[in-house]
Amino acid sequence: MTAPTPATPAVEFRNVTRSFGDGPAAVTALADVDFAIPRGMIFGVLGESGAGKSTLLRLMNGLDHPTSGRVLVEGTDLAGLGKSQMNRMRHRIGVVFQAYNLVGNLTVRQNVELPLRLQRRKARSGPDSVRVREMVDFVGLGHRVDHYPAQLSGGEKQRVAIARALVTEPSLLLCDEPTSALDTHTTSEILDLLSATRERFGTTIALVTHELEAVKAICDRAAVFESGRLHDIVEVDAARRDRGQSYLAHVREVLGE
């Protein structure tokens, strides 16, 4: 399962360093990171807690800026973009935050609709409204569309965040531990969805995760970070993939009853 790799990569980091604070309390979140994500690839980002993974993603859509070095998305240096150019760029980038960042006073449906509205697509009717419905159904919250985030469980919130990121069919998708609060079963469904999204739209996906199983399941390649340094880039052996088991059966198998 090799993704198409046209000339310009979807994302390119050129000697990127990002540090916070100065003096003895300074923290170097990323140190001289240099790599590229080819278009259409599902790219895993691995690393221990605090290794710089979230920082990496934030740099990819300009929410944060490198202390030195350059970040290019689809060949464009983010540092060179004006405000509205940046906004247009971001319309093509979906993000699932580690902390979800849902809008508390909007219902599930409204949260998922939001990015479409921002892009002035008419979400009330037409194919977009169908798409909103589809996404919410897909993440298993069809019966909760009119509930507010405060009424949802952790995993349910995370699923809303995923639906919100996917609803615009972005060409680049940044996922920060998108299944951390999800059980194995839901996780594998989400991973399937990510995989299918790439298949159908050629979406490039950067996937931060601690679950090696997830990397194994859908990533083409994964970068391993250690204390801000790019330690290694690992190619995933597609042959070792396996899936499709009932949840309880899986539990029993792993726990050995």
Binding site: F97, V103, N105, R117, L118, Q119
Partner: protein, 226 residues
Amino acid sequence: MNLLSEFERIFGEYGGEIAVAMGETGYMVLVSIVVAIVFGTPLGTLIYLTREGGLMEQRTTWTIANLYVTIVRSFPFLLFVVFMIPFTRAVFGTSFGTVAATFPLGFVAVAIYARFTEQILLELPSGLTEAAASMGATIPQTVFRFLLVDGRSGLVYALTSATISFVSYSTVLGVVGGGGVGDFAMRYGYHQYDFMLMYVVIALIIVCVIILQSLGHRISRALDKR
């Protein structure tokens, strides 16, 4: 003193005038509320956006907007009303009467509510603006679809609180013939030492404010889904 017969006397003798005065206060306060929403909310949002580290950091704009709010709020109100008279006259052709009196009150209302708005927005979690940015929201979109959405319950509660200030400020407007219940209480109660009348009118004001307050409270709670 028989309280009931006192009430009878007061409402019998002054009932009509009290009703007119209530109407005047209602007018002044209502206009202030509208003006506070229409100009105060944007001004407070502007201060929030242009502040150091804000989404639209812009020192000059921030300084001017912030200065307006600070100056108008710290100007002794009675003197502010006097200060505004030439402008009031230029706009309304007269400097007295309820309508003209509302003009300086409007400026204060805007300043008060702008500060409230800023305070509410400052308390919103940073994840909210982050989400907006990540979706490529323009500044107006960030404001209308994120900040004001999650800030709405706080904004409504603050509007209630501000309205109470407007009522309190409106009582000073008797100086330029603004009328209203506050002025009525002052005029008949205080200046003519009809303390019973004065306290009855004040009680009326307070009852209205309490109703307003609990209404604002209720709406605010209903709007908060977080």
